[in-house]
Symmetry: C2
Subunit: 354 residues, 2 copies
């Protein structure tokens, strides 16, 4: 099984693990993740949206508030971008002490081609007023968390919202958004963790004070305890994952590999800067070799890598580690925090070569 | 949280829960489950199949063995059927004592429109020899389970394989099979639990002795202990599920409902006979009312149901119970067995009305 795992999970957490799902790691073989294999976190319930009456409302501190229908959005200039999305809680279940929430191992990731209309021109048409500091994105999903009833809402500083790559997406992998990915419209903020990409988007509100909603101001912070406010989680930390080679044992997922030249393959990504290096170890991190990097798919998507491994009979622990052009890399051991976020410790895959 | 849950699950089981997933229960609202929301169990790994070189091999005790390409299969007569699929292990995590395997709650179900070519004419063309007793279906997925390395294989008695509704499916919901649903071809056996519907199908072999493969002869039996051989699991036991009303609390998934006329809705199915009755209780099974049944989608798919519930402030436990035309119904308490299969105990959803 996964090295690093330490404790049992409760049936409350299992309820989340049963609804939501990671990327089966063998699906790292696809540069663009097929629909249904991309990781999925549905925070509350999938809302039931009638596209015919749905409207996107743009308002707040703007000179010209307006509404747009889905057809109106589709009539605007469109852009398609390959974007890697990862949940900020990826790796949470590998932390000790245990952090109670969606119990991700290391597979809460996926890469899709999102099609939509850029957000910046739309905000420019609305006319962001002087004094505006943030843009708040409101989803139609609603529930209770931290004893607070709320719609799912997140904000971005105006400068981040105005970046060229930020999209309002109505299609994924060439198809209309399916319900679980935010039909009819979701925000896509390339490079940022998944909680930023608000689904079932219905409202865009420009505000002149920092937004204090629960999902923004309480959740998704790097902090040592509940009493601390901490540092907001924003962009994706670097990570490399490998396709576990050979065949699995059903329950333990331990791997059995035939001796010979094994091509190890995987993907690596970072929200801070392009991936510059992927290293692979077959001895649990004692020694490392550089993998060959594929051409990037886009500025905001994972980068494929391969390494030929002359596998001789025995027991091994495969690891991989990504480094980006800004010098960010992965720790070997997890770094604990109260929310269980941003755990980008290296993947460790025990294999038996026969 | 789910009533009936009793124990914690291990991180080995979490590895399965993170890869595989159930139907988020609010998605019971869709008569045909959108792709990506249908339950998914990938037993070993998703194999990497090149459709250009892939062939279906039909052989064994037949007079004229042959091979078919994907194009060859698509050129044959096609049929589209709405079929409800459920994992035989659905409900396993609600059993006590705990059964270690894929830890399903109650949501390992979905209904899709499968398109393919009927199996029977293909077997007739091959010419099943006298003395044949079963047809073995071999998938391209391979792994280790019960200390035995094997390809995923299941068999059907010849008479069951020859039924009109049995399909070799190459499309789902109008799209080519995605990798996780068995690309390029899977078996669909309407009415039977999911383990029967072999994915990544590559071989159909007629045999004159009952097939003794691990997935057929050891797994998927109703038995009291490991020492018993038990009774093979075949068709789906009746079950009704309801869409949990109101809004959820993120972690506990407990429900908060506004007082007033609440339309409860859900789906019910059985692999043995048409659904004839769905009853709903708001008091934890003390009293029951009959729900209104929608028209059936097909002979092999779930049936929608609704019931208006005059919700007054207070605490409730909603339950629903299906009965089929053969008189099969659901027990209120789970019935334990060693493999943790066929647990069709009634769903129990605690709600707070305010």
């Amino acid at each position: 099984m996964e090295i690093g795992a330490t404790s049992e999970i409760s049936l409350e957490e299992l309820q989340l693990a049963a609804r939501n799902h990671g990327l089966p790691l063998e699906a790292l073989r696809y540069p663009i993740t097929p629909l249904g294999l991309h990781y999925l976190l549905i925070h509350f319930d999938i809302p039931d949206v009638d596209a015919a009456t749905w409207r996107l409302r743009v308002g707040g501190r703007v000179e010209r508030p307006f509404e747009l229908s889905l057809e109106g959005l589709k009539a605007r200039p469109s852009q398609t971008l390959a974007v890697t999305l990862e949940c900020a809680g990826n790796g949470r279940a590998l932390l000790a002490p245990h952090v109670v929430s969606q119990p991700w191992l290391r597979d809460a990731v996926g890469t899709a081609e999102w099609t939509g209309t850029p957000l910046a021109p739309l905000l420019e048409e609305a006319g962001v007023e002087d004094g505006a500091v943030e843009v708040v994105f409101t989803g139609l999903d609603r529930g209770v968390q931290g004893d607070v009833e709320h719609a799912y809402e997140r904000s971005l500083p105006v400068a981040d919202a105005m970046r060229d790559e930020v999209l309002l997406a109505y299609a994924v992998n060439g198809q209309p958004l399916p319900p679980q990915h935010g039909f009819p419209l979701r925000l896509v903020v390339p490079g940022w963790y998944g909680m930023t990409h608000v689904k079932w988007l219905a409202g865009i509100t420009v505000v002149d004070e920092p937004f204090r909603g629960w999902q923004q101001d309480v959740a998704y912070h790097l902090r040592a305890s509940e009493d601390e406010h901490g540092t907001p989680v924003t962009r994706i930390q670097p990570r490399a994952l490998l396709v576990p080679p050979g065949i699995p044992e059903f329950l333990s997922r331990s791997r059995l590999v035939e001796a010979g030249a094994v091509v190890l393959e995987g993907r690596a990504w970072s929200g801070w800067a392009p991936i510059e290096r992927v290293e692979v170890s077959a001895d649990g991190g004692e020694t490392w070799r550089d993998a060959r990097l594929d051409e990037p798919l886009s500025d905001f998507a994972w980068r494929g890598w391969t390494l030929e491994w002359p596998a001789e009979p025995g027991e091994y622990e495969l690891c991989c580690r990504a480094t980006d052009a800004a010098g960010n890399t992965q720790p070997f051991e997890p770094e604990w925090n109260y929310d269980g976020v941003c755990n980008n410790a290296v993947q460790r895959v025990p294999v038996t070569v026969r």
